[in-house]
């Protein structure tokens, strides 16, 4: 298989600030190969002991998804989000029927607290 001659290309650097934090994008370094990319990532994003972990990825190896049809398809998906469940009126009706306004203490509370 033909090998491409080494050339400078961007490597993206993700860093973890402290233990438990998510990896966040820090920036990129140009390097001719993954070994030097590691050194350079450490220098630009870790020489001050400011990171506890680094991920170094060749930019060309990153898959990017920003197709709006995949990520923001047009039909209703509100059933997948908390905001899709508005119960204020229904709960009002139920409480009116049972004579139990919101917040009255004494028996019969369901374990789950509701937001109405």
């Amino acid at each position: 298989m033909p090998r491409r001659a080494p050339h400078l290309e961007p490597y993206e650097v993700f860093r973890q600030e402290k233990d438990g934090d998510p990896m966040r994008h820090g920036g990129s370094v140009m390097a001719p190969d993954p070994e030097l990319a590691l050194h350079y990532a450490r220098e630009l994003y870790g020489r001050r002991q400011e990171s506890t972990r680094l991920w170094i990825v060749r930019r060309a190896d990153i898959g990017v998804l920003d197709d709006p049809d995949w990520l923001q398809p047009p039909l209703d998906r509100s059933f997948k989000k908390p905001g899709g469940y508005v119960m204020r009126e229904k709960l009002g009706q139920a409480r009116a029927r049972t004579g139990r306004p919101k917040g009255v203490p004494g028996g019969g509370h369901s374990p789950a607290r509701d937001e109405a």
């Binding site: 140009m30 390097a31 070994e35 030097l36 050194h39 350079y40 450490r42 220098e43 630009l44 020489r47």
Partner: protein
Amino acid sequence: MSLDAGLAPGTRSALEALLLAMADDEFVIGYWDSEWTGIAPLLEEDVAMSSIAQDEIGHARAFYGLLGELTDRDPDTTAYDRPPESFRHCRLVDHARTDWAFTIARRYLYETADAVRLAALEDSSFAPLAGLVAKIQREERYHLAHAEGWLRRLAVARPEGRTRLLAALRTLAPDAATVFTRLPDEATLVEAGVMSAGTADQAVVWRAGLEPLFAQLELPLPGAAADPATGRTTHSDGFRWLYGEFTAVRYMDPVAAW
């Protein structure tokens, strides 16, 4: 053995000589390599080489500090306030920075030698030294990885990289082993358990360690030091120039606070 425990006078003076040699080695190579800050071949590499140079000066500062506790002098005074002839760095690091191939070749030879030297001190009966060495060894792993990576890259970069690397190794060969210049009264250091092996034994280990990689890359192994007796006492015009630089501001007023 701690700083407070009685050190036999012979051991003490030998220990001071060892610490001065190590401090001066790190100081001088750190200064030369720090010159690359701002002018290295690649922006990213510029930052890397500068970090390594700063580490070396940090190590020098720590050794001067340890020496200073024995001699009751502060690190800056020990480092700067003395004539050039009193420096005890090895001839390997006395050479100027020269070009990138020279810097890399010298870095690799020095880092591998320093690793052997540090290994001979990691169980030192002189506890403060053992403690410092343990910390320094952790930092040196990065240096060695960097130097070896570049040595490999240049060794296979035909024709120009390899040609320059071979020329650098040729120039450095007579001085490569000066890291292991016999120290004054070093036998007392080995007897007292400060150092686990003498410099001659360390040099053997070092050269054996270089062999596999140098064979693989078809690079000439450096031999014994030419003129070993003066390995730490002759200094070049290049070093005298450097001395002039690093004392220029301070000597305006050596007792002032800067």
